[in-house]
């Protein structure tokens, strides 16, 4: 009977080898797949068992984890609801993390290397591991004014401290309530998601301040002006400003807004052309300066198609293809393929405000350990110097004129000089125009730079967006006790 016994022994060995191979496949080959499976609540439960750090604005927690009685120990709440949603994003069982909940996840969850020493200490002291806090640069007054200004429209506002690059406000509409997407009820989460993304309307999850770029229209004239001033033009240099301009090598006619006339003499000083936003003057000026000068200046301001992180990812801005002088003429008035993010527009205004020095925009001021000690702090950083201080002064003078007596009069603030530029960009024949405004105040000692974008607002930058910019700047100064 020993021969079959030996065969049985070998068969058993084979069966057990099968078991071991199968276990290897599960625990090694399929390990990541199984660990990351949406339905595997182990890793998730571990994450939810930990007190996630808060996102803080001016001492108030705008995203905070609170203990619960249910299966997952902590619930993510957003006390301000939709107000900060474009910045915080959500922390969802079903849809994952977005915006800062994603970009700063390591710190918030306590995984960040800068919290490493503390985690080791937690091991020995038996303290529950917790995440660190993320303190933002936002100013609540600015944020509220921006969101209030955008109520009922689709658009975005960005406000910067021109001297540091700190982002004071970042609004995007329509918004949503991140708490609804961060609950512990997957059904409720899905229902809310369907509700906010239903239909063809604008997607509330998109942060229009940074996630997308748009044709800037006449905002671009500031960059063309900068190129001209660098080339020896002065604000009072007289430039051609015909009523109707035929674009070179085409029969296409370029007109001014509402077919109006810029000047009875068909020419005017550069400052006046910007003040009334004369299309023919800037198209001709761009063609006279040439593609290289325009492109070079635009790229110097940051329209270089590069993405950046603030730490939220920011879409690139660009000048686009310029195939001909005709295209150059259209590009010079911010049409054709020119695209800017709202943040980029704010950065252009801030650069002029900051004597030609562009600061790197940032949203996170400090990172705090769970014991509130500072583990990291953002130092303001110079990004570029696209224009000289002298050109910046001349541009400030011209942009002040825009608000004082030109297309941007709706941005005027009592007792304070405001500099700015309006933009009204044609999108498509069948869609209303985009309405822009960018500016800063006070013109002589700028504290805040703002860009306002209203998508398909249908009006002009001057009547739709400039008032919102004024409200935002006023809110800022009132908040500062001014």
């Amino acid at each position: 009977m020993n021969a079959p016994l030996r065969r049985v022994a070998i068969s058993v060995l084979v069966l057990f080898t099968l078991l071991i191979v199968n276990v290897n496949i599960i625990q090694v080959v399929r390990s990541d797949e199984l660990r990351d499976d949406q339905r595997n609540t182990r890793v998730l439960a571990e994450e939810y068992d930990r007190e996630r750090g808060s996102i803080v604005v001016a001492g108030n927690e705008i995203a905070v984890s609170v203990p619960t009685e249910d299966r997952l120990e902590y619930l993510r709440t957003y006390p301000e609801g939709p107000l900060y949603a474009p910045v915080t994003g959500y922390y969802s069982l079903v849809y994952g993390n977005t915006a800062l909940e994603d970009a700063e996840n390591d710190v918030l969850s306590g995984e960040d290397d800068r919290l490493f020493v503390r985690r080791i200490a937690d091991l020995f002291t038996g303290r529950d591991p917790a995440g660190g806090d993320v303190v933002l640069t936002l100013d609540p007054a600015v944020q509220q004014a921006a969101m209030a200004g955008l109520e009922g429209v689709t658009g975005a506002v960005v406000a910067l401290d021109p001297t540091t690059g700190a982002i004071l406000g970042m609004a995007s509409t329509p918004s949503y309530d991140p708490a609804q997407l961060s609950s512990h009820d997957p059904e409720g989460i899905r229902t809310y998601m369907e509700q906010i993304t239903a239909g063809d309307g604008p997607d509330p999850r998109v942060n229009r301040a940074i996630a997308d770029n748009y044709p800037p229209g006449s905002l671009f004239k500031v960059i063309v002006s900068a190129a001209a001033l660098e080339e020896g033009y002065a604000p009072d240099t007289v430039v051609p400003a015909p009523d109707i301009m035929t674009l070179p090598q085409t029969t296409q006619q370029l007109r001014n807004f509402n077919n109006s006339s810029c000047s009875p003499s068909q020419e005017q000083p550069l400052i006046d052309a910007l003040t009334i936003s004369c299309n023919t003057a800037f198209a001709q000026l761009g063609i006279d300066l040439g593609e290289d000068k325009i492109r070079e200046k635009a790229e110097a301001f940051g329209l270089d198609d590069e993405r950046m992180e603030i730490p939220l990812p920011v879409a690139g801005s660009h000048v686009g293809e310029i195939e001909s002088d005709a295209a150059l003429g259209q590009t010079s008035i911010g049409q054709r393929d020119v695209r800017m993010t709202v943040l980029q527009a704010a950065m252009v205004a801030a650069t002029v405000a900051n004597d030609g020095v562009q600061m790197k925009p940032y949203l996170v001021d400090q990172l705090l350990a769970p014991d509130l000690s500072v583990i990291d702090e953002t130092d303001p950083e110079e990004l570029r110097e696209p224009i000289s201080a002298q050109v910046a002064d001349q541009l400030t003078e011209m942009m002040t004129s825009v608000v004082a007596r030109g297309s941007g009069r709706a941005a005027r603030i009592q007792g304070m000089e405001v500099a700015g530029k309006t933009g009204t960009a044609q999108v498509r024949e069948d869609l209303p125009d985009h309405n822009w405004f960018m500016g800063f105040a006070p013109a002589d000692d700028p504290k805040i730079a703002v860009a306002v974008f209203v998508a398909n607002g249908g009006g002009t930058g001057g009547d739709t967006s400039a008032p919102i910019a004024r409200q935002v700047m006023q809110a800022y100064f009132e908040g500062q006790g001014g």
Binding site: M1, N2, A3, P4, L5, R6, V8, A9, I10, V12, L13, L15, F16, L18, L19, I20, N22, V23, N24, I26, Q27, V28, R30, S31, D32, E33, L34, R35, D37, R39, N40, T41, R42, V43, A45, E46, D70, R71, L72, E73, G126
Partner: protein, 469 residues
């Protein structure tokens, strides 16, 4: 594998070492691992040692000391690896069950009551029966005398749950229990032992007939029609278990054991083919007829698709294993309590989640050692009954481990079998202790020198007790 299966009697005759020292050292190792693992669980989950820890350590040590001393006295030539392998598995099982008890505190846990102390009682009872068996049964061949009685007992035990009202026998759809006065036992576990003893005795008796009388059909030696009786009977029995108790596991287990023992007894591969054919036919018919078998198979093929139903357990088990990865979450570091019935059917996934691939493979290897030592005992023992019995017992463990672990890891459809020695469950633990007592008894006979020479013993060196077979 020539190494481990070589005949130890090949060494100098009469000088066979008893290897009791090896056994003692390995048992000590198993006890240390058990106690250290228990301490790790307590420290990781609760942060402090439980007050009962000292008592537990003493208790578990005492269990193995007693078992070892009894083996030393009444089965002194027994295989030295059998008992330590069991001790390691039981200790690890107690640890994982205790760990799952603690998880009852955690949110989202499926654990509802404390089972480790009860399991310790069962283990103690198991050791008591182990000791009792070794003391009472000095020669395994005496079991053969009760073969037909045991067969009757086995069939009654097996059939009892089927005839009892569902309220007394049904848990989670399987009618395999006897529940009386708060106690529930799975008689199938004991029936398994009775039937293996019967198979061994019966096959020893009939093996010549079954092996020799045959005719050749298409190159294959086929047994005569009337000799097919026993295998058909076993097959029918398995089918009955499947039909009336909805117990796929026991059905598969009994039939597999019988076919393998038949093969060993007759040395005829044709029995294996006949067995496989009958199994395949039975499985096919069962799949066609029984919804619960169909559901099991469908779930096995794509557990993910049945996540909200029958596939939930296996998927949770796979999630646990996958999350555990190579090294595991550490004892007390994972969430094995998220797998339903982690303490019994799915204890292996708890081991895999917290001790990782290394821990789970180590456990599989310990089982392999246990089984191969049992098979080696079968090879070495001289009498045919002992050979068949040891082979049946060893293969029973192997087959059960394969079917259970295969089910838990998605290799095979899920069956209702328990993981021997590891899983929570009194009947299974106690029955398996008796099983290993039988193996120990046979291995003692196997390794004992053939003719204990009256070697010249100087009076001064004479042992205080002279062991006689």
């Amino acid at each position: 594998m020539p190494g481990p299966l070589t005949d130890p009697r090949g060494t100098a005759a009469g000088a066979t070492p008893t290897r009791r020292g090896t056994e003692a050292a390995l048992l000590a190792f198993a006890v240390v691992i058990t106690v250290v693992a228990q301490i790790m669980v307590d420290l990781t989950v609760t942060g402090s040692l439980r007050p009962e820890m000292a008592g537990f350590s003493v208790w578990i040590t005492a269990l193995w000391v007693v078992a070892h001393l009894v083996v030393r006295k009444w089965a002194s030539y027994a295989d030295p690896l059998l008992l330590p392998a069991v001790a390691l598995l039981v200790g690890l099982g107690l640890t994982v069950i205790h760990r799952l008890d603690l998880a009852a505190e955690q949110v989202g846990s499926t654990v509802t009551r404390e089972d480790a102390p009860v399991q310790l009682i069962w283990a103690t009872l198991g050791v008591a029966l182990f000791v009792g068996f070794l003391v009472a049964v000095r020669d395994h061949r005496s079991l053969a005398r009760f073969a037909y009685t045991l067969a009757l007992v086995g069939i009654v035990l097996l059939a009892l749950p089927a005839v009892l009202p569902a309220s007394m026998s049904e848990v989670n759809g399987a009618k395999i229990w006897i529940r009386v006065a708060g106690f529930s036992i799975q008689p199938g576990e004991f029936a398994k032992l009775c039937l293996i003893v019967f198979f061994a005795a019966y096959l020893e008796d009939k093996r010549d007939v079954l092996a020799l009388a045959s005719r050749k059909v298409a190159g294959l030696e086929l047994p005569r029609g009337r000799d097919l009786g026993p295998v058909l009977l076993a097959w029918v029995l398995s089918i009955l278990v499947l039909v009336f108790e909805r117990d796929l596991g026991s059905s598969l287990l009994l039939f597999g054991i019988f076919v393998v023992m038949l093969y060993v007894a007759t040395e005829r591969a044709s029995w294996l083919f006949i067995g496989l054919g009958l199994f395949a036919g039975g499985a096919l018919i069962a799949y066609q007829i029984f919804a619960h078998v169909q559901a099991r198979v469908d779930t096995w093929l794509s557990p993910s698709d049945y996540y909200d139903g029958a596939g939930y357990q296996v998927m949770q088990s796979l999630f646990g294993l996958g999350t555990g990865g190579l090294f595991g979450a550490g004892l007390g570091g994972g969430r094995p309590d998220q797998v339903p019935v982690a303490k019994s059917d799915f204890i292996a996934s708890a081991v895999g989640e917290e001790l990782g691939l290394f821990g789970l493979v180590a456990v599989i290897i310990v089982y392999l050692v246990l089984v191969e030592r049992g098979l080696r005992t079968s090879l070495v023992v001289r009498d045919a009954f002992g050979k068949l019995l040891a082979a049946g017992l060893a293969f029973a463990i192997a087959w059960q481990v394969f079917v259970v672990l295969g089910g838990v890891t998605g290799l095979l459809p899920l069956t209702g079998l328990t993981t021997p020695f590891l899983a929570y469950g009194g009947s299974s633990l106690v029955a398996n202790f008796v099983l290993v007592a039988m193996l120990v008894r046979i291995s003692d006979a196997a390794r004992r020198p053939v003719t204990p020479q009256a070697a010249p013993v100087r009076l001064g060196d004479a042992p205080t007790e002279v062991v006689t077979p």
